[in-house]
């Protein structure tokens, strides 16, 4: 009866693997199975529903049905959308350049805070920082001992006080002690607490107000089910989280919590714990998590291809540059690099909505593959300044670049010329609407110029990446908000 649970999304998606012609009805049916698989991976109900609605809308668009392999298109879209939900990546801890930075860990009981405090300390120490641990869990028996043991293993100092004290004071004293000890990153290990416990949530807010941490990180067990969003939301509302750390991902949890929590709170997942040992902390990668939710397997290859094709960041960047009528050799190189990773030109075009239909017209593309390698070599031999301003590349520079990349100077000339006309076309396109852009793009593609970074109708949608607010600025805003709140209370 419960086979459904163990069967993965791959199973659901295998529906799309058949070669049979897809119809709107069959896509809808298949995506229903996708929804079920997401729920079985603990993805929040609303998130799963929204997700499937969105994919359905995209998949039913003409572009998918008309493309050479609609099945694969859909797989690609599902994968990419999963990544969109969990991204963009942001592994920065936004520590201060000088002076002392404070990281506060919080979360439910047993999620892995104390262990993660140790892992972060270890990582920071390796990066040449001077971490300092503060044992602010005065509740759980031997929590202080646990952090002390970890500190001793890492040779990182630990500030601890008697367990009958007050955690807020412990944190304040801890920061003072850290300053005195010449440390530059303080990590506060707080007690586990339920998000529905008003007193203990207020205690965290107090610590936040009194020591003003640069980073407040929510430690979340990857095995958490549907309730994950409730706790994450509550902690975020109380504290304005800066990041999430997912723990215990070394097991076989599908990690739907990761997807839901990011989607519901908008807080980036920064790191993931992949073991009990203190070196088992890794930057979080939405792609890996997405294929995990999908059930891995042979999904991987295709998914990787699709993912790179739709690579969010570089697509967003190229798109932005394009819209501003600015297209530099740098973004050209980025695009080329991405293409190369994928293998041959033809296989890539297949995954680009609207492009696959043109494969027939393009004829033999093997030459193009070799070109890419050479073009990459040429651009790599340019200085950053040259890439930004190709018009400044004079004859002697051209010779140098040719020597550096082992090609004839004439080839460098040709690249620059091609690039010049491409950039011009891009500039022209910047003012056009989407449809005309697409037409222009198809023209360019069939004339041998291909710019993979631009958005095509129906392609994985680019989302502009919100600029991360710097920690100090955020602090200021927070402080002002607090003041306002107090004022309001007085009234």
């Amino acid at each position: 009866m419960f086979e459904g649970i163990t069967s993965s999304l791959t199973g659901a998606l295998s529906f799309f693997r058949g070669s049979g012609k897809l119809t709107e009805a069959s896509i809808r049916e298949g995506l229903k199975a996708v929804r079920q698989a997401l729920l079985e991976a603990d993805v929040n109900y609303d998130v799963a529903q929204e997700f499937v609605d969105k994919i359905t809308e995209e998949a039913i668009g003409q572009k998918v049905l008309e493309s050479l392999s609609p099945q694969e298109m859909i797989l690609g879209i599902v994968y990419q959308e999963l990544i969109n939900l969990m991204g963009p990546v942001d592994h920065e801890l936004k520590l201060r350049r000088d002076g002392i930075s404070i990281i506060m860990l919080c979360g439910l009981q047993g999620s892995g805070k104390t262990t993660t405090a140790g892992k972060l300390a270890r990582m920071l120490k390796e990066q040449g920082k001077k971490p300092f641990l503060v044992a602010a869990d005065l509740q759980r028996p031997a929590a202080i001992e646990q952090l002390k043991t970890i500190g001793a293993q890492l040779e990182v100092p630990v500030h601890a006080e008697a367990p009958n004290g007050n955690p807020v004071t412990v944190c304040q004293n801890g920061v003072k002690a850290a300053k005195a000890a010449g440390a530059n990153v303080v990590i506060l290990d707080t007690a586990g607490r339920l998000h529905v416990d008003p007193e203990l949530m207020e205690e965290l807010r107090n610590i936040d107000r009194k020591v003003e941490p640069q980073q407040i990180l929510f430690v979340c067990d990857a095995m958490t089910g549907q309730d994950a969003v409730n706790s994450a939301r509550a902690f975020n509302e109380a504290l304005e989280l800066d990041g999430i750390i997912m723990t215990k991902l070394d097991g076989d949890a599908r990690g739907g919590a990761a997807l839901s929590v990011k989607q519901v709170t908008g807080v980036p997942i920064k790191f993931m714990g992949v073991g009990e040992q203190l070196d088992k902390l890794e930057p979080f990668h939405p792609e890996r998590m997405a294929s995990r939710i999908l059930g891995g397997g042979d999904m991987q290859t295709l998914a990787e291809k699709a993912q790179r094709v739709f690579d969010q960041d570089s697509m967003a960047k190229a798109q932005e540059e394009l819209m501003r009528g600015k297209f530099t050799l740098n973004s050209f190189l980025d695009a080329m690099k991405q293409i190369k990773k994928l293998g041959n030109f033809k296989s890539i075009l297949q995954y680009i909505p609207g492009m696959s239909g043109m494969l027939g017209q393009l004829g033999d593309l093997s030459g193009a593959d070799k070109d890419i390698t050479r073009i990459e070599g040429i651009i790599s031999s340019m200085t950053a300044e040259e890439r930004q301003n190709p018009e400044n590349i004079d004859i002697s520079r051209r010779r140098r670049i040719a020597r550096g990349s082992g090609v004839e100077a004439a080839e460098v000339n040709r690249l620059l010329k091609d690039f010049g006309s491409m950039a011009k076309m891009m500039q022209g396109m910047a003012g056009m609407d989407k449809m005309s852009q697409a037409k222009q793009m198809q023209m360019m593609a069939s004339s041998g110029m291909f710019q993979p970074g631009a958005e095509m109708p129906g392609a994985g949608k680019t989302r502009s990446k919100p600029k991360p607010m710097d920690a100090d600025k955020k602090k200021k805003l927070k402080k002002e908000a607090e003041k306002q709140k107090k004022k309001n209370r007085k009234r």
Binding site: M1, F2, G4, I5, T6, Q36, L39, E40, A41, D42, Y45, D46, L108, Q109, G110, S111, G112, T114, Q139, R140, P141, A142, A143, E145, Q146, L147, K148, T149, I150, Q153, L194, H195, V196, D197, D221, M223, T224, G225, Q226, D227, A228, V229, N230, S231, K248, D250, G251, D252, A253, R254, G256, A257, E276
Partner: protein, 315 residues
């Protein structure tokens, strides 16, 4: 949060259900539509009971009530009965709420051994402390064995609990073989002529084959010391756990022959619906629930109360 508070909260949850979940969604006198069933499905999913159990329940409601006028009491009964029967399982074990030790299988001869296992951070050590306290209060002489020699200060943690409760504890230095701790625990229990030995184990993910084999070894050592032991192998599950709980239950049962579940951290907003899926699939009963971090926050599992809380209005 005290026992009384959690009880109070449990009751208020139960009260809510009649006002919100069923009554709110299905209006008495209206015709029950498929749309309503879709909405109710969502609420069931939010309990972590899993798609299959939720589907089964919806099928049942559809069969009995779709297209008919809603009679709240009957609808409520359909849902409640189905879940409760699921939870009770085929063997239909019902424990006497007046007898807090009734879910436990005690040895007729010599000491009873309870082995406690589960994935990391679910609440094993705390549950052991609560259980030891319960046993002691009911006149049993208890010994603890600090079998988690791996995690930093795990031994200290159980030691502090043993001192608070006032029970004997057997420990070995950090990194010792946990089977050796279990062995020493058995010896000490016999020496003291104690009634119950509870063995703590390090948290482990069920995907770690070596660590799962270690559990099998601990079991073997225990049974070589005390015949028919361990008499209970309790799997501690975190109420917040999602569908991964099913694999946990399967794998731990394979490696350690679990006889029951302690569902910890049920005092949060998580509903612990995963135990329904587990019960449905493998007849592993829930014996106790943890409802707080303190020593008294352990309650006998009561299927009726649990189902009430489970169906209380979701977020």
């Amino acid at each position: 949060m005290g026992w009384f508070d959690s009880l109070k909260r449990g009751i208020s949850k139960t009260a809510q259900i009649l006002n919100t979940d069923v009554r709110d969604l299905f209006k008495a006198g209206e015709i029950l539509t498929e749309d309503k069933l879709v909405l109710y499905h969502k609420r069931l999913i939010s309990t972590d009971m899993g798609v299959a159990a939720a589907d089964a329940l919806i099928v049942e409601i559809r069969e009995k009530h779709l297209g008919r006028t809603v009679i709240l009491d009957e609808l409520w009964k359909t849902i409640h009965d189905k879940l409760e029967s699921l939870l009770r399982g085929v063997d239909g074990e019902v424990w006497d709420p007046e007898q807090p030790l009734s879910p436990l299988n005690f040895s007729n001869v010599g000491p009873t051994v309870i082995l406690v296992a589960g994935v990391n951070g679910v609440g094993k050590t705390t549950s052991i402390a609560k259980l030891a306290n319960l046993l002691k209060k009911n006149g049993k002489k208890v010994v603890l064995a600090a079998g988690d020699t791996f995690r930093a200060a795990a031994v200290e943690q159980l030691t502090m609990w043993s001192q608070r409760i006032g029970v004997e504890i057997v420990t070995k230095p950090s990194q010792s073989d946990p089977a050796a701790v279990a062995h020493a625990g058995c010896t000490r229990t016999k020496e003291l002529n104690a009634d119950v030995l509870i063995v703590d184990t390090a948290g482990r993910l069920h995907t770690e084959v070596n660590l799962m084999n270690q559990l099998t070894k601990i079991r073997r050592v225990i049974s070589s010391q005390i015949p028919d032991a361990p008499h209970e192998t309790l799997l501690v599950l975190d109420a917040v756990t999602g569908q991964n709980g099913i694999t946990q239950a399967q794998k731990f049962s394979e490696a350690a022959g679990c006889t029951g579940i302690i569902l910890a951290k049920l005092d949060g907003t998580a509903r612990g619906g995963i135990v329904i899926a587990i019960r449905q699939q493998m007849s592993l009963p829930v014996k106790y629930v943890g409802v707080g971090e303190q020593i008294d926050d352990l309650q006998l599992f009561n299927p009726t109360a649990f189902v009430d809380a489970l169906l209380a209005t979701g977020p």
